[in-house]
């Protein structure tokens, strides 16, 4: 089956998510759709799958124009989709998940689950999936859940399979398995649209690559293209961000972590016996693929997570069982990873968000009473200092752009004497101008003598800010290396290769190609 998009445009209010997109997916081809986060890939796929209606353009299947009024039409036309966030009901069994929406019945509206089970088994056998039809979804590991999604699509005779960021939640091993599955599907004649922003995976599996940026197709490439070519197309600007900074002048090591182990709710180790220190006036960047324990490390430092064992010390004092409030009071500045859910309160005014974690301390309060005049005055000062573009500090913060919201967070966290700065993904979702500003402020904080920990999954950001880089993999620090470590070596370390080996392999040129060895780090 051949899928063709011609001139697809999709708007959300003033925002144009897809602009005049042309795309041809030939039968039995793996077609990668490559683009940064927010480039409009998912929107496009939702248009193909009938979840969104395009504002312009046409979808053609085998050269015949089709219109989808819902996912049902798309499925009937032979399109299957595996969403980035799985569309599986956690309490259902695999067979029930398969049946949903396409229920086999045996009279009186009663389900014929036996036939659903049989379908699961048949497809599982064909691809060697090993999925128990009676397993409950929420008990399955992520990779298996994804296979259930694929079985779902195949059971509806999908000839075109859309995989939306399928590797975002997978471990490198699972990613390898998925790539094998994709190749197998291609052999059996299924076309695959593979949405990703990871260059290595694309090169490992795609037959054809379309790159989109800011909602528009910016070019096509073959898998033989070099990664820097692809990255250039995808990012469309100088990939190497550089903010001017003086060399660090590190002083005493005032912050240290010893043998820190953190468990998640289910009791699994997520931070595994970490030990490191940060000196005053230096930035330690924690690099790594998302989900390797960085988030939990940052949360343990601020006290949102209780460590299972180990100690965290600041200025010669163990933080131990201190509450978040106590840690903030002892001078830890914390920029949370997810700004909208943890960093600001959408319904609160800008003024109130600026004192979110300092409202009960002088100068903003005395006793139980807030001091509105002081709060207002300081807020206006910060607006000035951080160049926050707003109409009024009394407006809800949700009226600001992401970049300005982040500036509010930074103005709050940097606007006081700090003994430690912990910032997670400080520039996520920001435009280039804002990124530059944020980086400058962080460097200024370092120069003022504050020990800084920057957690980032963006290698560019890490390289731009770091004085030293700690690479995390599976809850452990693979190594702490200087800021001038080659990108390729960092990439290997992010895939778990020990420091020495990574450096050696980069040195002798045997850098890696398979995905599991360098799961992440699109190293241009």
């Amino acid at each position: 089956m051949k899928l063709e998009l011609s001139g697809i445009t999709k708007r959300f209010g003033p925002l144009v998510a897809n602009r005049d997109i042309d795309l041809v997916v030939e039968p039995g081809e793996i077609h990668a759709l490559l683009g940064e986060n927010g480039a409009g890939k998912s929107t496009l796929m939702n248009v193909i799958y009938g979840l969104y209606r395009p504002d312009g353009g046409q979808i053609l299947i085998d050269d015949r124009p089709v219109t989808f009024s819902g996912p049902g039409d798309a499925v009937a036309a032979g399109i299957g989709m595996v969403h980035q966030h799985f569309m599986l009901v956690p309490v259902f069994t695999v067979a029930e998940s398969l049946a949903l929406g396409y229920e086999p019945t045996k009279g009186m509206g009663l389900l014929d689950l036996a036939s659903a089970r049989e379908t699961v088994r048949t497809i599982s056998e064909r691809f060697g999936f090993d999925i128990d039809p009676d397993a409950i979804i929420e008990d399955l590991p992520v990779g298996a859940q994804q296979r259930v999604e694929i079985i779902k699509a195949l059971s509806r005779d999908a000839e075109i399979l859309i995989l939306d960021e399928p590797t975002a939640v997978l471990t490198p091993q699972e990613t390898d398995e998925l790539i094998e599955i994709m190749k197998q599907l291609r052999e059996q004649g299924t076309s695959i649209v593979f949405i990703t922003h990871k260059l290595r995976e694309v090169r490992a599996v795609a037959d054809k690559i379309t790159v989109i940026r800011r909602g528009a197709v910016v070019g096509e490439a073959s898998p033989e293209s070099s990664e820097s070519e692809l990255a250039g197309l995808m990012v469309g600007r100088d990939v190497h961000l550089t903010t001017d900074k003086e060399p660090a002048r590190p002083q005493d090591e005032t912050f240290s972590v010893e043998g820190l182990t953190v468990l998640d709710k289910a009791g699994f180790v997520v931070v595994d016996d970490l030990s490191f220190g940060v000196r005053q006036g230096e930035i330690l960047a924690v690099a790594g693929v998302q989900g390797n324990g960085q988030t939990e490390l940052a949360e343990a430092i601020i006290g949102l997570r209780e460590p299972h064992s180990g100690t965290i010390s600041l200025d010669g004092r163990r933080l131990g069982g201190d509450s978040v409030k106590a840690r903030l009071a002892s001078g830890i500045g914390f920029v949370p990873e997810d700004r909208s859910s943890d960093g600001v309160i959408a319904g609160f005014s800008i003024r109130e968000n600026m004192i979110l974690d300092q409202y009960d301390r002088p100068p903003y309060a005395s006793g139980l009473a807030l001091k509105p005049a002081v709060i207002r005055e300081k807020a206006l000062e910060k607006v000035e200092e951080f160049d926050i573009r707003l109409t009024s500090i009394d407006d809800p913060i949700s009226t600001l752009s992401g970049g300005n919201q982040q500036k509010v967070v930074l103005s709050r966290e940097l606007g006081r004497e700090l003994s430690l700065l912990v910032a997670s993904q400080p520039t996520r979702g920001l435009d280039v101008g804002s990124i530059e500003f944020v980086h400058k402020r962080i460097i200024a904080e370092r120069d003022a003598g504050t020990p800084c920990i920057i957690v980032s999954t963006e290698l560019d950001e890490v390289l731009n800010l770091a004085d030293r880089i700690a690479v995390m993999y599976r809850g452990r620090i693979v190594g702490i290396v200087p800021a001038d470590t080659p990108r390729d070596a960092l990439g290997l370390m992010m895939a778990g290769v020990p420091e020495d080996e990574a450096l050696a392999r980069v040195a002798d040129g045997s850098a890696v190609t398979t995905v599991s060895q360098a799961a992440e780090g699109d190293l241009p």
Binding site: G72, V91, F92, L110, L263, D264, V270
Partner: protein
């Protein structure tokens, strides 16, 4: 409350196979032995042995009677010595508690029969003690009354669970019961036919559901708020009409009508159980049908699968072409109709005229029964029966003049429910998406 961390890290699954060889000890969480139940059983058993048995005054008798009017044959009244019986039953309870301790120690799971058996023995000990020296303890009447009081609760709980499993929280069960009771009485009276009321009641319940879904689905108003307010609205409207139209001409609008009892041949002749379960009016039989049908259809039918999907993960349902909001509305209307039927039991089911606020908070107990029954029809059925039983027991005990304060017995269902939602009695887990409006793109 959601966790602070937005993502879970899947990596420690296979710690030793990474290229780095970083061996993370996979701390597989070990299941603790749950000592909560054996402790509860032991405390209850010892308390029962002491309070009902050893510490009670001796020399009294408790007489159980089993008579009812149309028994096939009569079981004679059974007088038993109170203290000795209680001691014996108390010892049985102690043995059962020991079994539970043993089962926990050896990590064996006891079936549903265990709490049921324990409960029955405990209740008998309690009955023997509380009726000691007083009048007779009419077992058949106790059970029959318990069933009668449970019927509206069961219908109400079924309504609640159909709604919540579809993702709509329904606090308005109370209002739906009341509306059903009202319309059933009025229509039955006006047409002088109780069966006409049987058709009217579901319509009344569904009408309340129409308002509920209109505000919940169309305008995304918080479902708890609408439910609470709807209850007030229904009380207002029915009380207003009762005080005006119904009182002006009660002969036309509020004459008593009763659904006749339809004894099922043979089954109704079984002693004790027969008259309780199988000599009832059609509403009770309908209740059996509704519970069994829901139990089957919620878990084994296309309708039920879709219902559970939209209550747990509506977006997943949407992506396979299921119209989430339409299904939610239709299911909630059906649920409203079920509750309306339950309301009919207050009037035409019991042969009573309509009275102001006659549902008297039963809708809230139905909600409790639904939660205690863990959103399962059979579970909710048993919870509702338990509540009906404790309520009727309170009535019977105060009628035969025992020292047990009826208010404390009446309080019991609510206390049990509080303990249940606080996690002291099993784990309850509501449908994940309940109460959240579904907004499709």
């Amino acid at each position: 409350m959601s966790t602070v961390a937005p993502d879970r890290t899947p990596q420690p699954r296979d710690p030793s196979s990474g290229p780095g060889g970083a061996a993370a000890p996979a701390a597989a969480p070990v299941k603790q032995r749950a000592w909560k139940y054996p402790v509860v059983y032991s405390v209850l058993a010892l308390a029962s042995l002491l309070v009902f048995g050893l510490l009670a005054g001796g020399g009294k008798q408790t007489t159980f009677t089993f008579a009812s009017r149309n028994d096939f044959f009569t079981i004679p009244p059974l007088p038993v010595p109170s203290k000795a019986t209680c001691v014996a039953l108390g010892l049985v309870l102690v043995v059962l508690a020991a079994v539970s301790i043993w089962a926990t120690f050896t990590r064996r799971r006891l079936g549903v029969w265990f709490p049921l058996l324990f409960g029955i023995v405990f209740v008998f000990a309690f009955l023997t003690w509380s009726a000691a020296g007083a009048g007779r303890m009419p077992v058949t009447a106790l059970l029959a009354g318990a069933l009668a009081l449970s019927v509206p609760l069961i219908f109400g709980a079924m309504c609640g669970l159909v709604g919540e499993r579809s993702g709509i929280i329904n606090i308005a069960i109370e209002g739906q019961l009341l509306a059903g009771a009202f319309l059933a009485a009025v229509v039955a009276s006006a047409l002088q036919n109780p069966y006409a009321g049987l058709f009217a009641a579901p319509i009344a319940g569904a009408l309340v559901a129409v308002v509920l879904t209109f505000f919940a689905v169309r305008y995304w108003v918080d479902q708890i708020i609408i439910g609470v307010v709807l209850n007030v609205l229904v009380v207002g409207v029915t009380s207003f009409l009762f005080s005006t139209v119904l009182t002006q001409d009660p002969a036309t609008w509020n004459a008593r009508q009763q659904l006749p009892n339809l004894p099922i041949p043979l089954l109704s002749d079984i002693p004790v159980i027969g008259p309780v379960l199988f000599n009832q009016n059609i509403l009770v039989y309908l209740m059996y049908v509704v519970v069994v049908a829901l139990q089957i259809f919620i878990f084994r039918s296309k309708w039920g699968l879709r219902m559970r999907a939209i209550g747990e993960h509506p977006k997943a349902a949407d992506t396979v072409g299921i119209n989430v909001n339409r299904n939610r509305v239709l299911n909630t209307l059906l649920a409203g109709a079920i509750a309306g039927l339950g309301g009919a039991f207050f009037t035409i089911g019991s042969g009573l005229a309509f009275g102001k606020e006659m549902s008297a908070g039963q809708g809230y107990i139905a909600l409790a029964a639904m939660i205690l029954g863990k959103w399962n029809p059979m579970g909710a059925l048993f919870a509702a029966l338990l509540f009906g039983f404790s309520k009727n027991l309170a009535n019977v005990l105060s009628a035969i003049g025992t020292p047990v304060p009826s208010q404390l017995l009446l309080m019991l269902p609510y206390v049990v429910t509080v303990l249940a939602v606080a996690g002291f009695v099993g784990r309850v887990r509501a449908p994940a998406a309940e109460g959240k409006p579904y907004i499709s793109q």
